[in-house]
C-alpha cells in the first residue's frame, strides 16, 4: 500500500494526531487576492522517481524475505515475500470468505462510528455553546478521554452480553473523542459577529443552531470525523484480534495462529485499504456538505 499523496481537492484540514485539537483557525482579514487552485503539476521525471522508489522498496523486501536475512535485532526468516503475498491475496480475493470478513468489519466500524458521530456532535454542540453544559458534562468525559479505546477491551467484554456489541463499543470509544473535541472547538471558534448578525435578523436558539452554529462548526467537525474514522479502524482491528470471530483484524490474527504467514500481510493490506477508503469517504461527504468551504480557502 503506497502512501501516494491524496488529490488536492480534498477539503479537510490535514490529519493531526488522534484526539489532538486542531489548531484554531482564525479568520484572516478578507483579501480580494485569489490564488487559482490548480493542483501542482508533477513532471514525468518525478513520477518515475516515485515509482522507482516503490519498486526498490519491494525489491528489498523480496530479497530480505527470500534470503531469510537475519540482522540480529530483526530477522526476516518467517516474513513472506511479496510474491507469496500476491498469491495469497489472489486466493483471498477469489474466496467467498473475503466478503464475509469485510462485511463484519465494516458493520462494526460503521456502527461505532455512527454512534460516535451522533453523540460526539450532539454533546459537542451543547458543550461548545453553553458554559453550564460544559460544567455539567465535561468533567466525566475528561476523565475517560486519556484512556485509549483498546484499554476498554477487557471491561467491554464484561459489560456487553455479546462480543459483537463490545467490539462496536470499542470502536465507538475510539471515534468519540476526536469528534467531540473538534466539534467543541468548532463551536467555540465561531465568529461572534456571525451569531450577533443572525440574532438581529431574528434567529433564535434552535434556528441559530441549525442555520449558524452547526454549519459554522462543520469544517472542524469534518476534521474530527476524518480523524475519528481512522481511530475507529485502529480500535476495531485490535478488538477483533482479541474477541472477534470474523472480520479483517480477526483474519490477520487467525493467519498468524494457523501459521499462514502470507495471509498476515494480506490482512494488513486490506486493513490499510479500508481505513484509507473510509477516511476518503468522510472527506468526500464533507466536501459535498460544504461547497462554500473550498471557495473561501484560497482567501486565507
Amino acid at each position: 500500500m503506497s502512501l501516494a499523496p491524496v488529490p488536492t481537492e480534498v477539503v479537510v484540514a490535514p490529519r493531526v494526531m488522534a484526539e489532538q485539537r486542531t489548531p484554531q483557525r482564525r479568520r484572516a482579514p478578507r483579501t480580494r487576492v485569489r490564488v487559482p487552485r490548480v493542483p501542482p503539476r508533477v513532471s514525468v521525471g518525478r513520477w518515475l522517481t516515485r515509482g522507482l522508489s516503490l519498486a526498490v522498496g519491494m525489491a528489498l523486501w523480496q530479497w530480505a524475505a527470500s534470503h531469510h536475512v537475519d540482522l540480529g535485532i530483526v530477522q526476516f526468516r518467517n516474513v513472506p515475500a511479496p510474491t507469496e503475498v500476491a498469491v495469497a491475496a489472489a486466493g483471498l480475493l477469489a474466496s467467498p470468505k473475503l466478503a464475509f470478513h469485510v462485511r463484519n468489519s465494516l458493520g462494526r466500524v460503521l456502527g461505532g462510528f455512527a454512534g460516535a458521530t451522533v453523540v460526539g456532535i450532539g454533546l459537542g454542540l451543547l458543550i461548545g455553546r453553553w458554559k453550564r453544559a460544559a460544567d455539567l458534562l465535561l468533567p466525566p468525559l475528561e476523565v475517560i478521554r486519556p484512556i485509549p479505546g483498546v484499554a476498554w477491551i477487557p471491561l467491554a467484554i464484561l459489560m456487553f452480553p455479546s462480543s459483537e456489541l463490545s467490539m462496536v463499543f470499542i470502536t465507538f470509544m475510539g471515534a468519540l473523542f476526536p469528534i467531540l473535541l473538534n466539534t467543541i472547538h468548532g463551536v467555540e471558534g465561531l465568529d461572534a459577529r456571525l451569531v450577533a448578525g443572525a440574532r438581529t435578523l431574528g434567529a433564535r436558539s434552535f434556528s441559530l443552531f441549525r442555520e449558524v452554529i452547526l454549519p459554522g462548526a462543520m469544517p472542524s467537525i469534518v476534521t474530527g470525523l476524518s480523524i475519528g474514522m481512522g481511530t475507529a479502524w485502529f480500535c476495531l482491528v485490535t478488538a477483533e484480534m482479541i474477541s472477534g470471530q470474523y472480520g479483517i483484524g480477526y483474519y490477520t490474527w487467525e493467519s498468524y495462529n494457523l501459521q499462514r504467514y502470507p495471509d498476515i500481510v494480506v490482512g494488513m493490506l486490506f486493513i490499510g485499504l479500508f481505513g484509507m477508503l473510509s477516511s476518503l469517504a468522510v472527506k468526500w461527504v464533507g466536501a459535498l456538505l460544504m461547497p462554500w468551504y473550498r471557495l473561501r480557502e484560497p482567501a486565507r
Partner: protein, 264 residues
C-alpha cells in the same frame, strides 16, 4: 414597501460597559430623536462610544439609564423593525447570496417562494441582480456590503442602524456605496441612524450631523445639513459643504485633543 413611521428616540440614555472596578461610562445622558424618514449621522472622535451607542439602539446592549423607544413603544432587546448593518462582514459564508438575503424572512417563517421573490427584489435594489447563487467569498468587499444592506432591508425595517458600514472599503467604492445608499433611501424612505468617523460621509448622507464629545459621549452639537436632495458626490465640493465640513472638523479635533489630554 414603505414602512409605517419609524421614530427612534433615546432619552437621557446612559451606557456603561464592564462591571465593578472595570466599569466605564461610555455614553452619558444622551437624548436623540430620529424623525421618520430622516437620516441622522453620528460623528465623533474614535473611542467616543459611537458603536456602543448604535448597539444600544439595536437592543444588543442594555442601557444603564434612560429610555429607548420606537414609535413611542418602549424598546428592550432586538426588534424586528430595527435593522442593523455592521461595520464588518457578517454574511454567513455557507449560504449563497440569495439565501443570505432571505435569511431574515426564513427566520420569520416565510415560505420558500415568497423568500425567493423578496430576495431577488432586494438584490435588484442594491444592484446585484444575477449574483444570487454566488457565495459571499466570491464577491468583492463592496458587493458584500451591498448584500448586507439587502438582507437587512428585506425585513422591511422602520429604522436602519448603520455602524460605519463602508469604513473597510476603498475610497472609490465607498463613494459609490454612499450614493447607492442615498438612492435606496429615496425609494424606501426608512429612518437611518448612521455612525461614522468620516466627516465627508456624515455630511453627504445626513439631514443632521450629531457630533459627540469624547468619552463619556454626550452630544456636543447638532448641525443641520442645508444641502438640497437628491445629493450626489459632486456636492462635496460646494461652498455649503466645505463650510459645514470646516465646523465639523474643528469640533472633532477639539474633542479628540481633549480626549488625549484627559488620557495623559
Amino acid at each position: 414597501m414603505t414602512a409605517p413611521a419609524g421614530r427612534l428616540t433615546a432619552r437621557q440614555l446612559t451606557l456603561a460597559l464592564g462591571s465593578g472596578a472595570a466599569r466605564q461610562l461610555v455614553i452619558e445622558r444622551l437624548t436623540l430623536d430620529a424623525a421618520p424618514g430622516e437620516i441622522v449621522t453620528v460623528l465623533g472622535p474614535s473611542g467616543c462610544g459611537k458603536s456602543t451607542l448604535l448597539s444600544a439602539l439595536a437592543g444588543l446592549v442594555a442601557p444603564s439609564g434612560g429610555t429607548l423607544s420606537l414609535d413611542d413603544q418602549p424598546l428592550d432587546g432586538p426588534h424586528p423593525a430595527l435593522g442593523l448593518v455592521f461595520q464588518q462582514n457578517t454574511l454567513l459564508p455557507w449560504k449563497t447570496v440569495e439565501d443570505n438575503v432571505a435569511f431574515g424572512l426564513k427566520m420569520r417563517g416565510q415560505g420558500r417562494r415568497a423568500r425567493r421573490t423578496a430576495a431577488l427584489e432586494m438584490l435588484n435594489l442594491v444592484g446585484l441582480s444575477g449574483l444570487g447563487d454566488r457565495y459571499p467569498s466570491q464577491l468583492s468587499g463592496g458587493m458584500q456590503q451591498r448584500v448586507e444592506i439587502a438582507r437587512v432591508l428585506v425585513n422591511q425595517p422602520r429604522v436602519l442602524l448603520m455602524d460605519e458600514p463602508f469604513a473597510a472599503l476603498d475610497a472609490q467604492t465607498r463613494l459609490m456605496m454612499q450614493e447607492l445608499l442615498l438612492e435606496i433611501w429615496a425609494r424606501v424612505r426608512v429612518t437611518i441612524v448612521f455612525v461614522t468617523h468620516d466627516i465627508d460621509e456624515a455630511i453627504l448622507l445626513g439631514d443632521r450631523v450629531v457630533v459627540l464629545t469624547q468619552r463619556p459621549g454626550r452630544i456636543r452639537e447638532t448641525l443641520p445639513v442645508p444641502i438640497a436632495r437628491p445629493r450626489r458626490a459632486e456636492v462635496t465640493t460646494s461652498a455649503a459643504f466645505t463650510d459645514l465640513k470646516r465646523r465639523c472638523l474643528a469640533l472633532v479635533r477639539e474633542e479628540t485633543l481633549q480626549g488625549l489630554a484627559a488620557a495623559n
